[in-house]
Symmetry: C2
Amino acid sequence: MMNCIVAQSGGPTSVINSSVFGLVEANKELKIYDNVYAGLNGIEGILNKNIINLSAMDSNELDTFRRTPSSGLGSCRYKLKDSSLCEDEYISLMSILNELNIKAFFYIGGNDSMDTTAKLSKYAKEHGIDIKFIGIPKTIDNDLMFTDHTPGFGSAAKFIATSVLETYLDSTVYIDNGIFILETMGRDTGWLAAAGALATVDGRRAADYVYLPEVAFDKVKFINDVRETFMKNNHVYIVASEGLRDETGSFLTASSLGANHDKFGHTQLGGVAHYLRTLIIDAGITSRVKTLELGVLQRCAMHSASKIDFEEAHMVGRDALKYSAEGYTGYMVAIKRSEGNDYSSSSFLIEADKVANKVKYFPLDWVNSEGNNITEEAIAYLKPLVFDIPELKFSDSLPQYKVFRS
Amino acid sequence: MMNCIVAQSGGPTSVINSSVFGLVEANKELKIYDNVYAGLNGIEGILNKNIINLSAMDSNELDTFRRTPSSGLGSCRYKLKDSSLCEDEYISLMSILNELNIKAFFYIGGNDSMDTTAKLSKYAKEHGIDIKFIGIPKTIDNDLMFTDHTPGFGSAAKFIATSVLETYLDSTVYIDNGIFILETMGRDTGWLAAAGALATVDGRRAADYVYLPEVAFDKVKFINDVRETFMKNNHVYIVASEGLRDETGSFLTASSLGANHDKFGHTQLGGVAHYLRTLIIDAGITSRVKTLELGVLQRCAMHSASKIDFEEAHMVGRDALKYSAEGYTGYMVAIKRSEGNDYSSSSFLIEADKVANKVKYFPLDWVNSEGNNITEEAIAYLKPLVFDIPELKFSDSLPQYKVFRS
């Protein structure tokens, strides 16, 4: 018996289950492992022996699951300590994997999960344990190094751009329109906010201004810009990342929110739109300022997903299986964009420890000289990633979804 | 020359332009009027002579316009005074309509617009002016009397139900999940919040509790209910209308928000989700409470619209034209649901002054005995209204939209 196991970690995306499906489907075809098991709730679930056998699942159920947003296998935010500090978890985990005859472990996640993948691979090598550990990328934040982009980002980008388009139209119906501020996720990077610039009406970008965490927020310039555009158009549309910072690097809203921290030490954010609204009102520009925080819809609005994203999530899952059969361990499957005008992509491997705990920032040379929008080069990068819509299943006219929960 | 004019008023919906298109298309076929004009920004725009000729528009452009959310002709919140108090506006308006040889005026809006329709019709009759005034319903709130439901509601309901489904999945991925609160629009009525109950996962409703403004909010029962479900499931999903009130009829959040009022004396709301979150945390149930206010997306998320809604909006526009040719004035086109198991609908007329300034509440016998959810009878009413998805046009994989702005 030779089995493998897959698990999901960190924040959900709309297409994370497509990667699981890609892996299961490739194994059905290539017959590399006898069974593809899944740990429910990531590594935490595996340690609790919450494990199901995906190879034994009904194919119709799996087909619904692949089109389902959110971590269909459950998730965790479990931080594995270094094995030199605490070996117990490593011993438990390897023992559970051994019992199940696991020869390959696939971890779908962001940079924290790549840290886990690298640590487990290193531990296995050091202890002569023959299990391959491969990381499969997913994060709506698009902030992983080396990969051209991350599965999950394109669908989030599409939902954001569509929402900008629709709320732009909604916010311009009166003679007297006021100002609209859309707040996107993006703690450290501006990729998600940048996607707002994709929305165009009559060939003109809907968003007047797009603010990213990579550019120190200049309050005075912001007020001047907004005032000028409001005087001219009687309307301003602003897209702002939740992670905006001032010139000292402090989050604009950290203090007002009490700066809560999660287990990984990340500051919990939100409220940038309200902060900007207050700036505008206090500056006397107008009191008619509406705000919208897209919140978790950005990472689960499968009804507005990107087909390219859905397919690439499938690709990285499928290729992870192949790479494991070729003997690789301690790597993450990354995406490479091909040269040329027509978009296409393929996968390659990058050492997981190189990706772990690092952040890919939005390039500053893709920010306009005013620091308040993105360039056409950035648009050209983003545009192919939101291509087309995946086919969903419906039940009573609502999307039909299937998840596995412990 | 015999022309007609159409205008839009009040808050936008996703399908309000489908009614305009239905009217223009029916006139092309039936040749009742020489031209269908449109006033931009409602009656305010007509008074400013911001008028375009829809009959002269490119048919491809109109086809994009019909699939565009938000008031494609612009809107207003202009309150017409009674002619006995201020006749000037009536005289100006009738003179402008006369110049354009207008024989019928169609006003697409909610109950305030039906008030305007009734007033103008009465004034015209009293002064021997041969112009028919017909109201065409639209409001996501579904709160107009006599009509089975309002165009715009089904699409909002579908977006809400889909969002409940997707955020429910997103909020259940961890072992330790906490509580999720989704806040819907619905100042006076619970129709929109009720739509949240349509979301089901594995045949079970995703939302544990649905709170409507029609039921006085009982803080103690709320805390007990939420605590019990959280103890049992380690997760609670709550849908709450922005218009929740206590037993005295006061909005739960009115005081904390300073109770702003709009031109019609409506209290401006928002923040119920935060209020409930505070209740839960203060009661010591858990501090892991996430909130999401869907905001204006509810009335413009055309990418998740209902085809039935889209088609019925078309029907009321088309039939308004026919009714005007039959000589009716001072009426609103209402929707009748046919008897029997298979859903179908037709239009009928109801006096606009009967609809004006009234509110259709969510029936109390469609609320469960606990006052914290809706009955299966209510589900049966709601379900057909979210049927299927209208076909959109796309440009660079984002919906392609077209509006006319003054």
